[in-house]
Subunit: 418 residues, 2 copies
C-alpha cells in the first residue's frame, strides 16, 4: 500500500520522485488489476504528467475518483449501462479541487449502480473471493492493492466506511456539506457525502485536510487519549460474534492505553432515525433518478427498479416525518457529545462477506450518515481468518479534526497492542 | 397572463382545450418575445403534444424551466458561453417530475450567467425599458407576458422573489431542500433553492403543491387572517421611499382587513447572518465553479471572475464561522416564529430599476434564503409610475403552507383595498 503522507514527505525531502511513485502504481496495476478490477477508466500517463507538474499539498500523488463523480477528461458512467461512455461537460468540484492541489487523477473507480446496491466486478485485495464492500468498491480496493495513494468516494448509507473496513484501510466521511457535493450523480441529496480513502487514518486525514482546506492533519502532533463512548446500537445482535469480540477487545485495549471508555446506550430516537434513513433515501432517490426511472427503466437493475418504485410510493408526509425524526436525533446526539469525544462502534456487521453478489450491509453506518457527523474506519484489527474487522470512530458534527485525532490515537493503540 | 389554476379548472370542466391554451401562448410569444426575450430555447410543438398527452395535476399546462436547470430535450447553457449548445444527459429531477405530472415544457428561460450577476437580454413586460430582475429573469418575465402558466427558477440570494416582485407576479421559494436540487448547475449548495412562478399566489402554490407532492394549495379554503410581524430589517434605509410607504400601507390595510400586525425588530444575529450569506455563497461558488474558473476563465464575466477569486481567498475558518452564525440565526428565527404566523417585509428595495445593466439588488432576500425558510412575493401593490412594488411574506421553516396561506390572504386584502 502507498501511504500518501509518507510519499508527500519523501517527495519533499527528495527521497523519491513522481516517476518512481507512478512506476510503483503501474507495477501494482499491471500485476493485480486483472483480478481486482478497481478501475472503470485509467490514464496513468496523463496522471503522471499532471502530478509531476502539480504544485500544492497533493503534488505528485496518484489519486483516484469514484465513477459516480463527474470528470471532464475521463468517462463517467455512474455504474450504469445507461451512461456507458458518458463524458461530463465539467469536472466535479472535488475533482477540480484535487487537480488544483497537484494530484494526478489516475482513473475512475468502480461504483455499484448509481452508488446503490448492484455490485460491480471489483474484488477484495485481502482475499479476492470476497467483496471489497461498496458502493465505493474500486476506491477502497485500489488503495488496498497499492494502485494509488488517495481516493475519493461517496457515502449515502455506509459506502465509505464499510468498504474501507472490508479492505483494511482508512476511510473518512467528513461532516455533511463540507466537501462540495457539486458534480456527483446524486442519489439522496440529504445524505450523499464525499469521503476520502487512504492507507491509514493519517493518510485519509491528510487528503481530506487538503481537499477541504481545513486543519485536519493528525500527523503533526501526538493525539491525546480520548474519552470514548462504546455504542453497541440497537443492532448489536446483527453484528457477528467476532465483530462483537473485536469491538469489546478494542474498547479494553483503548482503556489500557489510557483512554476513558463509557458504555452509552443511545436513546430510542436513534432506532427511529435508523428507520427514517431509509424513508429519506428512497423518497429522494425516486426523485433524483426520476429521469432514468421514467425513460430508461429497462436498463436499471431489478433491485434499483423496486427501490425507486417503493420510493415513489412513499407519501411526502412520511418523508417529512422522517426528516423531523432526523432533526430530533441530531439534537439528541449533540447533547450526548457533551460527555465524550468520540463514539466507538462497528464499521460493519463483520468481515467482508464471501462472493461478489453483495457488497455487504450498511446497517452500522446509516444513522451516522443521516446525522451528518464525521465517521472514520480505523483499520488494524484482523480476524482469525486474516480478514479486516473495521472499528468505526464517530465524532460530533463539524468536529472532524477531533474525530480524526481520536481515530488516529486508536489506530496506534491497536497497532501497539499487536 | 395565464392563471395555472384557472386553466386547470377550465380544462377539467371542458371549458377550454390544450390546443386553445397553447394557441394563446403561441400568440403571446409571437407578439412579444421579440421585445421581451424570455427564452433561450423554445419548442412549443413538443410541449403542446406532451401537455395534451399528460395525465396528472399539471396536465395541459405550459411550463417553463430556467436555463440553469438540466433538460435532456432542450439545450442548457447555464447563461454562459462556455455551455452554448450543451445538451445534458438527463433531465433535472424537477423537470422529470413536471413531465410526469403532465406539464408541457415550452422552453428554457434566460438566466443570468450561472444564476449570478451578469444579466441576459430579458426585458420587463410591465415596462420593457426596465430589468425583469434576476437571476430567474426569463421565468418571471415569461409569466408576466403570458408566455406560459407556470415556471421554475432558483434562488441563491433573491432570484425568485425579486424578479417576481419586479414583474408583478407571484414567486414562491419553498423551504430549503424540499424540491429536489438534482440537476441544477449549483452555485452554492447550502443556498440554491428551487422556486415556482405563477400569475398569483394561488397559481404558484398550485404548481409548488404538485411538484412537491405537498398539500400546499390555497384555493380550496378561505385563509384566516394571519398574525403578521412587520420586519423592516437593518437595511430599511436601503428601501426606496415608495417601498417604505408601500410596506407600511400594506401593514395598515392588513390590519383593517382583520390581521394582527406586530412590529418586530430582528436580533443582531440577523445582520451577522446577512454578512454570513455572502461569505457562504462566495466560498461555495469558488468551489462549485472550480472547473470553469481553472479552465475557462477567459469566458467568465469580469464580475464573476472577481467574485470567484474573492471566494477562493476566503479562509475555511471564516466560512465555518459564517455557517455557525447561520445556525444561530436559524434557532433565533424559530423562536421568533412562536409569536406570529408570517413576516411582512419588502421583496426588493423598490420597483424594477431602469435599464438592463443590472437585475437589481437581493439585499431584502438573502437572509431568508440563508435561513431556508419559505418566502413568497405577493403582487398587487403598484407605484405611482405604474410599476409593481413587491411585498414579501416569509414563513417558518417547513411551514410552507402556512406561509402561502398568509400570502394568499394578503393578496386578496390588497386587491380588495384597491
Amino acid at each position: 500500500m502507498l501511504s500518501a503522507i509518507e510519499l508527500a514527505r519523501d517527495l519533499e525531502a527528495g527521497r523519491t520522485t513522481v516517476d518512481r511513485i507512478f512506476d510503483a502504481c503501474a507495477e501494482a496495476i499491471a500485476e493485480k488489476e486483472g483480478i481486482i478490477r478497481a478501475f472503470t477508466a485509467l490514464d496513468l500517463d496523463a496522471a503522471r504528467l499532471a502530478a509531476a507538474e502539480g504544485r500544492g499539498p497533493l503534488a505528485g500523488l496518484p489519486f483516484a475518483v469514484k465513477d459516480n463523480i463527474d470528470t471532464a477528461d475521463l468517462p463517467t458512467a455512474y455504474g450504469s449501462p445507461i451512461y456507458a461512455g458518458h463524458r461530463p461537460a465539467a469536472d466535479a468540484a472535488i475533482v477540480a479541487q484535487a487537480k488544483r492541489l497537484g494530484a494526478g487523477i489516475v482513473g475512475k473507480t468502480v461504483t455499484t449502480e448509481f452508488a446503490f446496491f448492484k455490485p460491480g466486478p471489483t474484488r477484495n485485495p485481502v482475499k479476492p473471493s470476497h467483496t471489497p464492500g461498496g458502493s465505493s468498491s474500486g476506491s477502497a480496493a485500489g488503495i488496498a492493492a497499492g494502485f494509488f495513494a488517495l481516493a475519493i468516494g461517496t457515502q449515502t448509507g455506509g459506502s465509505v466506511v464499510r468498504p474501507a473496513a472490508f479492505c483494511g484501510i482508512a476511510g473518512f466521511k467528513p461532516s455533511y456539506g463540507i466537501l462540495p457535493p457539486v458534480g456527483l450523480k446524486i442519489f439522496s441529496w440529504s445524505l450523499d457525502t464525499l469521503g476520502v480513502f487512504g492507507k491509514g487514518v493519517a493518510d485519509a486525514a491528510f487528503g481530506a485536510a487538503a481537499l477541504s482546506g481545513r486543519d485536519w492533519r493528525v500527523d503533526r502532533q501526538m493525539p491525546a487519549a480520548p474519552h470514548f463512548a462504546l455504542v453497541r446500537t440497537h443492532l448489536w445482535h446483527e453484528a457477528s460474534g467476532e465483530m462483537r469480540v473485536a469491538l469489546e477487545n478494542t474498547a479494553r485495549l483503548a482503556e489500557k492505553a489510557g483512554a476513558k471508555v463509557s458504555e452509552v446506550t443511545l436513546p430510542a430516537v436513534f432506532s427511529d432515525a435508523f428507520a427514517a434513513h431509509q424513508v429519506i433515501q428512497d423518497f429522494e432517490a425516486a426523485l433524483a433518478l426520476g429521469h432514468e426511472f421514467d425513460r430508461r427503466v429497462a436498463e436499471l437493475s431489478p433491485i434499483l427498479r423496486e427501490t425507486l418504485a417503493a420510493g415513489r410510493a412513499i407519501e411526502a408526509a412520511d418523508y417529512d416525518a422522517a426528516r423531523k425524526t432526523a432533526a430530533e436525533a441530531k439534537l439528541a446526539l449533540k447533547d450526548l457529545f457533551q460527555d465524550f469525544d468520540a463514539i466507538l462502534t462497528p464499521s460493519a456487521p463483520g468481515t467482508a462477506p464471501e462472493g461478489l453478489g453483495s457488497t455487504g450491509s450498511s446497517i452500522f453506518n446509516r444513522v451516522w450518515t443521516l446525522m451528518g457527523v464525521p465517521a472514520v474506519n480505523v483499520p488494524g484489527v484482523i480476524s482469525a481468518q486474516g480478514m479486516p474487522l473495521g472499528i468505526q470512530v464517530v465524532g460530533a458534527r463539524d468536529e472532524d479534526h477531533k474525530a480524526l485525532m481520536a481515530a488516529k490515537w486508536l489506530e496506534e493503540a491497536i497497532a501497539k497492542a499487536d
